[in-house]
Symmetry: C2
Subunit: 301 residues, 2 copies
């Protein structure tokens, strides 16, 4: 597989793929969702089943005419019905990706996490993975968790690392470099994540995550800037060249996400992992482009 | 006092101040420290007492000749001696600012925190304050704590907020807008900092921190970008316009610091607060400019 260094490469690659992914959208009604669905249809990167509430809005209904055979529409009375139905379509094999339309994330998650009818298998960790394109960094960067797991336990870190590495591989990185983020390089039992990091590195050495490089505890700057590593005399394979960042807690992951999008001109894409199919739950404040790239990431094999 | 919107304004203002500050430097020996001392002398923003180890290096010794009456030099056998002596000079009233030269921060802190001979009064909280100039943000931004207090208690948050607001006021902000940072706007007892934030707002309403605006829990993007606040429909006086950010833990503060300097073209200045005088302890990986601005911030009245 080719190495994908930016989002344009990604969508270009998806457009050339035979066998487009099918996306179930729960309650499409807003302009951002319309933008994403129409663009994905136009660029040929996905097909859709739109689970609308009450009556499907005309602009969405028109898509079925404009893209024959690529858009199915169902209509249900409430957003909760739509959420349950979209999840059921995934369970029945009718869609490869689930996408939130116009509803609160909690409504969709309620259906996703339902023990009987949901799409998170027992014992699996639900986590959020972000992919970002930072103009000052030469390749796509994967990081986690900025949105779901507040204080990862060892088991949760294990899953978070596994999901993030898997996304990096799908982007064509043969041997992802994983940086375990902290504010210093010190392992200190006062900071339990640094103890977990030691165990993650031990597991990585045993081959648990496949062919990866791993380093840390390390700070963000050292992980992404070779010069900082030199000054600090840190000898780690991921210094200045990380493909994946694992954050110690949700506050630090969230600050990274928000600071990048606000001040570094970064584009971001995100999705939930751990479920039987990727779930796109972009937030209100995300740009149209960010939502489109999120769908694209979820559609990569 | 004038509003200072960038570091050039700051150093320009200091140059015009009557009665320059006097800075005690513990173990000046490296090129970065030389840059800072020489530039501060040249621009007329500070005078120095250099506490050298073994023999003062020729380029530092030359400064005494080039800037007559503005540089004193003492020489001691070890870096620990130099640290203790620089602290003693401050205690004796011989300097208004303490600055680390070529030694580990721990060595200097050992002398600073000494119960008998140090400069942290009993019961005072030691904390780190950063001032940053972000090209995409129209004014200097103060934040804390990115370097010293790992998980602030209520008392520590109280002091951190007080110090940061005080720095913002020294930069000419009459009514600092303080944003209490979190990853969402929700108060949740699972995240103790959000409970502390409620108490900080209560204290602020009672006037404990003087004339300030305060809002939160709030995420970084909403605090610094008005558009994000509109989309999220958050009505807080600090939305999109914060002067001060208070971070929930050291990992998130550190990620903000590192991401800004790495990807947002930001300049930063930092110092320790809580001690009887400001202490400049820039780290190895900081740029010369960053170290110079740190000294400048420490010299503001």
């Amino acid at each position: 597989m080719n190495f994908i260094s930016n989002f344009d490469d990604l969508t270009g690659m998806l457009a050339q793929t035979h066998g487009r992914k099918r996306v179930a959208v729960a309650s499409p009604a807003d302009s951002h969702t319309f933008y994403v669905v129409e663009r994905a249809l136009s660029e040929g990167i996905a097909d859709f089943v739109l689970v609308c509430v009450e009556e499907c809005k005309p602009d969405f209904a028109d898509l079925a005419t404009r893209f024959p055979g690529r858009v199915d529409i169902e209509t249900l009375p409430t957003v909760d019905d739509a959420a349950r139905r979209a999840v059921a379509i995934v369970r029945e094999g009718g869609a490869d990706v689930l996408m939130k339309g116009s509803m609160n994330t909690d409504n969709l998650l309620h259906a996703v996490l339902n023990k009987e009818h949901g799409i998170l298998e027992p014992g699996r960790v639900l986590s959020h993975v972000t992919v970002t394109q930072i103009p000052a960094y030469g390749k796509l960067l994967v990081f986690s968790d900025a949105a779901v797991v507040p204080r990862p336990t060892l088991d949760q870190f294990d899953a978070i690392l596994d999901y993030a590495v898997s996304v990096s591989r799908k982007l064509g990185v043969a041997r992802p470099g994983v940086a375990l983020i902290n504010f210093t390089e010190k392992v200190n039992e006062k900071f339990p994540h640094t103890i977990y990091y030691e165990e993650l590195k031990r597991r990585a050495a045993e081959g648990r995550y496949g062919d990866i490089e791993i380093g840390g505890p390390i700070d963000v700057k050292t992980a992404l800037d070779a010069e900082s590593g030199k000054i600090k005399n840190i000898n780690s394979p991921v210094v200045g060249n990380a493909d994946v960042l694992i954050f110690p807690n949700i506050e630090s992951g969230n600050v990274f996400y928000k600071t990048l999008t606000l001040f570094a001109g970064a584009e971001t894409a995100g999705m939930l992992c751990g479920t039987t199919v990727p779930v796109v739950v972009a937030s209100r404040a995300d740009s149209c482009e960010s939502k489109f790239y999120s769908l694209a990431i979820a559609c990569v094999d």
